[in-house]
Symmetry: C2
Subunit: 145 residues, 2 copies
């Protein structure tokens, strides 16, 4: 599947609804259709594992009744953390498109060897609509102060 | 809290109930009491994120109504994968005790820098009841053949 900015725009719209949580949105696409979409719900669910990507993977697996999300792509507004990156790898998602980079704790930026350790064929492309993805994060953190 | 083999024995008993899933059991302990316990349910739930550790963290967070699992310890029969290790770090579990080592894809064995990247103070001790934890895994994989 070819990358489609429309899906990153959708992930951004979902991120905007994160409420008290850090605004991150993720959508999973199969055959050019969104099969799951979530924003970060860590605070809302009181659950450190409730990142947008994990929730989206769980829902997509339920939709497909299969943990193998083959031929599925994920669009997420922020570079996944190591937890989410390993979950994406394990779920066999084909293409990962992310927006803003997280050079401090992002899985790809800080632990690039994760891909080779896993033997995964995951394709990764970062910086999609990077500016827009950065702006909603900055706005959130500015409002916190 | 001091390490207590009794809790690893419990994790082993839970691992034995994993059915078709790779036998891994995890318990979370607070004030010397088990507050959550799960085995791996990846196949059962058709969900690549349904590792014993993730399920146990989610349940413990629900029990405490808090994603911060402070002063909680985890006992798990197998070295956590990178997804689970990052989840354990993020949930602020205090002590991680694991049984069998996983030198191929274990988070600690393959990505030891995860701890420093996260700035976590997690204490980790591996090889607890290592032989017993290895035996149930070996038995599972032998039966597959």
């Amino acid at each position: 599947m070819i990358m489609n900015n429309e899906f990153m725009l959708k992930a951004l719209q979902i991120a905007e609804k994160s409420g008290d949580d850090i605004p991150v949105g993720a959508v999973i696409v199969k055959n050019n259709k969104i099969i799951s979409q979530f924003h970060n719900e860590k605070e809302k669910r009181s659950d450190a594992t409730a990142h947008a990507e994990i929730l989206a993977i769980r829902e997509a697996s339920a939709v497909l009744n299969n943990w193998r999300l083959e031929n599925c792509d994920m669009y997420v507004t922020l570079e996944p953390c190591p937890m989410c990156l390993w979950a994406i790898i394990q779920s066999r998602i084909k293409n990962l498109y992310f927006g803003a980079y997280d050079t401090l704790t992002g899985g790809i930026s800080t632990l690039p060897q994760m891909i080779s350790i896993s033997g995964s064929k995951l394709n990764i492309k970062g910086g999609i609509m990077e500016q827009e993805c950065n702006i909603i994060l900055r706005r959130y953190f500015e409002n916190l102060r």
